[in-house]
Amino acid sequence: MAISREDIEKVAVLARIQVTDEQIAGLETDLGNILNLVDQLQAADTDAVEPLAHPLDAVQHLRADVVSETDQRDAFQALAPATEEGLYLVPRVIE
């Protein structure tokens, strides 16, 4: 299946990845080829087949509601590109 330029632009915005016009041309080919590969799926007869999200037939275990974490803000924020007064900084968010 071919993927259109518009689709690539839409997906790039959803994925928050900047793409240049040149890159879009390359992606049209590459993503188109990948979609051709995965389109083999459409031939499979999957009527009445339940989707499998997880290989093991296991269930979620539950954690006791007990505080186990301590304040590690300084260690964590040492990794951050920009902080001030204990807050992570980002360009102004407009609601």
Partner: protein, 481 residues
């Protein structure tokens, strides 16, 4: 010293004929001398390794040693190591120093093992040649300009080049087995849930699984003894008891039922490769195993299902890399959208971006049913194929890769060509079963691997089967020049 197995080194440490500091110094020296050729390490931790070695020697003197105390090893740079940078071979995390250890790392530290450093890989484990690393491609010790396979190519190359006796790795679609095969070493991918994923930088959560790489099956068993655990920090970690994987290595193979999946031999497979694989299987017949053909009817759909599910999960697992709390951030973002879009465009490499985009596409409105849901249904069919096969046989055997190590750059131009490298390996991850790659001879001087697949939680059996081959043959002991 560097040609010895972990088991041998462990015995020598125990006897006192060598110290951990001596061993560690030796391997660090080899890395500094030789790794310029292979680029198998991203980070070498001389200082902390020597400190850990000294502590291991002290611990041994106190009589508190485990079989791993003082043994050097390397971790794939996808396992978080507290205080040592962990990059996933991405510009995005080029300077990321985690304040926590992956459970696997913590388990080895607790056992007294010595971490030599962090091994190179495909960026975020997405690739089959270890060429997509931000820190440069890895070279296979068996051939100038040959790829080591991927994504755990650094771990495989480091073990093959005897720069470390053992290395941890992860396998999402073949990332342990294929590089192990291409580098002539032994590797095991465990059952999904057997090894904790806590602290392992996620690629595709329902497929990712840690595993082992070393020269021998016995060493893999020793590694799995440490790596397998029930971890409350990982909801998908199993609470099944962990056996001693070394205890059953010498079980006889008489009566072992081996299945050969018809579909894995009918594919376009290099004739010499097939010959090597069949010779290895013939060895098993000598050991008393029986061989029969079986069918995995949906095998041909595995690549398609995998290349929907893995990118879909990856596309959202990698959303956290947004330049806000850690990792790469673009210069002077003009607004929030610009911060996200440039950070991710500049921080991720091409293959990672392709997969994020394919995954985003497969999950998006209008395509979800046709791609993601369809792939999940096919995934069940593939799992059922294995369940049916293991009603007839104990293990399945097949090639690992369609060709031996290829030339660097040969498959980087077309992603689909690279994806087809995984044709024999991805079904295992979709089903979540364990599998190994064991050296099975050479084609044109390049190693060939035999893939051994087992039922859920049959790691002990797989290691036993691999070990018995290694008692009868010496393919695993050949070393590159």
């Amino acid at each position: 010293m560097h040609n010895k197995s972990v088991a041998e080194l462990s015995r020598e440490l125990e006897s006192g004929s060598v110290s951990s500091v001596e061993l560690t110094t030796h391997f660090l020296q080899r890395i500094h001398e030789l790794d310029g050729h292979f680029n198998s390490f991203i980070t070498v931790s001389d200082e902390s390794a020597l400190a850990a070695a000294a502590e291991a020697d002290a611990r041994r003197r106190r009589g508190e040693a485990t079989p791993w105390t003082g043994i050097p090893l390397a971790h794939k740079d996808i396992f978080c190591t507290r205080g040592t940078r962990t990059t996933a071979a991405s510009r995005m995390l080029a300077d990321f120093v985690p304040p926590y250890d992956a459970t696997v790392v913590a388990n080895f530290n607790k056992a007294g093992a010595v971490c030599l450093g962090k091994t190179n890989m495909d960026e975020f484990a997405m690739g089959s040649s270890s060429e997509s690393s931000y820190f440069g491609a890895v070279t296979n010790p068996w051939g100038e300009k040959r790829v080591p396979g991927g994504s755990s190519g650094g771990s495989a190359a480091a073990v093959a080049a005897r720069l470390t006796p053992a290395a941890t790795a992860t396998d999402t679609g073949g990332s342990i087995r294929q590089p192990a095969a291409l580098c002539g070493i032994t590797g095991l991918k465990s059952t999904y849930g057997r090894i904790s994923r806590h602290g392992v930088i996620a690629f595709a959560s329902s497929l990712d699984q840690g595993g082992t790489m070393a020269l021998t099956a016995e060493d893999n068993a020793m590694m799995l003894n440490v790596m397998a655990s029930h971890d409350r920090q990982d909801s998908t970690s199993t609470d099944r008891a962990v056996p001693d994987y070394t205890a059953t290595l010498n079980e006889p193979l008489k009566g072992l039922r081996i299945g050969l999946p018809r579909e894995y031999f009918a594919q376009q497979l290099n004739a010499d490769m097939e010959q090597r694989v069949r010779e290895a299987i013939a060895e098993y017949e000598k050991l008393g195993a029986t061989v029969q053909e079986v069918s995995l009817p949906h095998a041909s759909l595995a690549i398609a299902a995998y290349y929907i599910i893995a990118p879909a999960e990856a596309s959202t697992n990698l959303s956290r890399f947004d330049g806000v709390r850690y990792g790469y951030r673009c210069e002077e973002p003009k607004d929030l959208m610009d911060l996200y879009q440039r950070t991710r465009a500049e921080g991720f490499g091409d293959e990672v971006k392709r997969r994020i985009m394919i995954g985003t596409y497969a999950l998006s409105a209008g395509y979800f049913d046709a791609y993601y849901l369809k792939a999940q249904k096919v995934r069940r069919l593939i799992q059922q194929d294995f369940i049916d096969a293991f009603k007839q046989v104990d293990v399945l055997m097949s090639p690992v890769s369609p060709t031996p190590a290829f030339i660097q750059g040969e498959k980087t131009q077309d992603p689909v060509t690279m994806y087809l490298e995984d044709i024999f390996t991805v079904a295992v991850n979709l089903a979540g079963i364990p599998a190994m790659s064991v050296p099975a001879g050479f084609v044109d001087g390049l190693p060939v691997g035999l893939q051994i697949l087992g039922d859920y939680f049959s790691e002990a059996r797989l290691l036993n089967v691999a070990h018995q081959l290694q008692q009868a043959t010496d393919w695993h002991l050949h070393q590159p020049e």
